[in-house]
């Protein structure tokens, strides 16, 4: 599964995109927990989940969104365009 990070999440994790084996993670929130348990840089980036937004296959979702079969999961801060 391709996992993408944007803005300060990208900077804190130190990667824009990576291939990740989701293991038994069923939701985006499960994936966050799996990554955070694996390495401190993820735990630090995901410390304040109120400031993190999720998209699954380029559609806005949330931590409860299922990721089974998804090609792409993205994590980013609240958007600030316009």
């Amino acid at each position: 599964m391709r996992v993408l990070y944007f803005a300060w999440l990208r900077e804190r994790i130190g990667a824009a995109a990576e291939e990740i084996d989701p293991g038994d993670a069923a939701t985006a929130g499960d994936l966050v927990a799996r990554l955070s348990a694996a390495e401190p840089r993820y735990a630090a980036a995901f410390a304040d989940m109120a400031a993190v937004r999720v998209a699954v296959d380029q559609e806005m979702g949330d931590l409860a969104t299922p990721i089974a079969g998804a090609r792409e999961v993205a994590f980013f801060p609240p958007v600030t365009g316009g």
């Binding site: 993408l4 803005a7 380029q58 993205a74 958007v79 600030t80 365009g81 316009g82």
Partner: protein, 150 residues
């Protein structure tokens, strides 16, 4: 093509001419242009970088345009949003709406900007001197988008 996400600047007059050229029923065109403001609460900025999510950004903008077209009788819509390095005074975003009468064009342009600010995946990073900082999302943007619900 109603949506473009691009690094380059845009020409407002040329875009407006293209939007209205084929349709003599258009009686109103509303144009909104967003610019990079130099002064912020934390002081003047020297530069700004706009990051986006290629693919999802275009999809999100197209969905917002489709929603506006469902709500108002529009003859045409054009949205251009830039990304990459920008300087104070640079154009960031263009929204054009065309309709038979002005009310639909005015309201749809405002709706498009309110929704774009809360739904399109863009992130601004401002540089002041040696310091660069990501811009926080504003609650006022959420409440502006919220007034179109219902």
């Amino acid at each position: 093509m109603s949506v473009s996400v691009q690094r380059e600047d845009f020409d407002i007059a040329a875009e407006m001419a293209r939007l209205t050229a084929a349709d003599r029923d258009i009686g109103a065109v509303v144009s909104f242009t967003g610019l990079v403001r130099e002064m912020t609460a934390e002081g003047p900025i020297a530069a700004m970088e706009l990051e986006h999510y290629p693919g999802m950004t275009e999809r999100a903008l197209e969905a917002i345009v489709a929603e506006a077209r469902g709500r108002w009788p529009l003859q045409g819509v054009r949205v251009i949003h830039r990304y990459g390095p920008l300087a104070p005074g640079d154009r960031i975003v263009l929204v054009l709406t065309a309709s038979r009468h002005r009310q639909a064009a005015f309201e749809a342009a405002e709706f498009l900007m309110d929704y774009l600010k809360t739904r399109a995946p863009f992130w601004k990073k401002q540089t002041r001197g040696a310091e660069s900082r990501w811009v926080d999302a504003r609650e006022t943007d959420d409440s502006a988008a919220g007034r179109w619900k219902g």
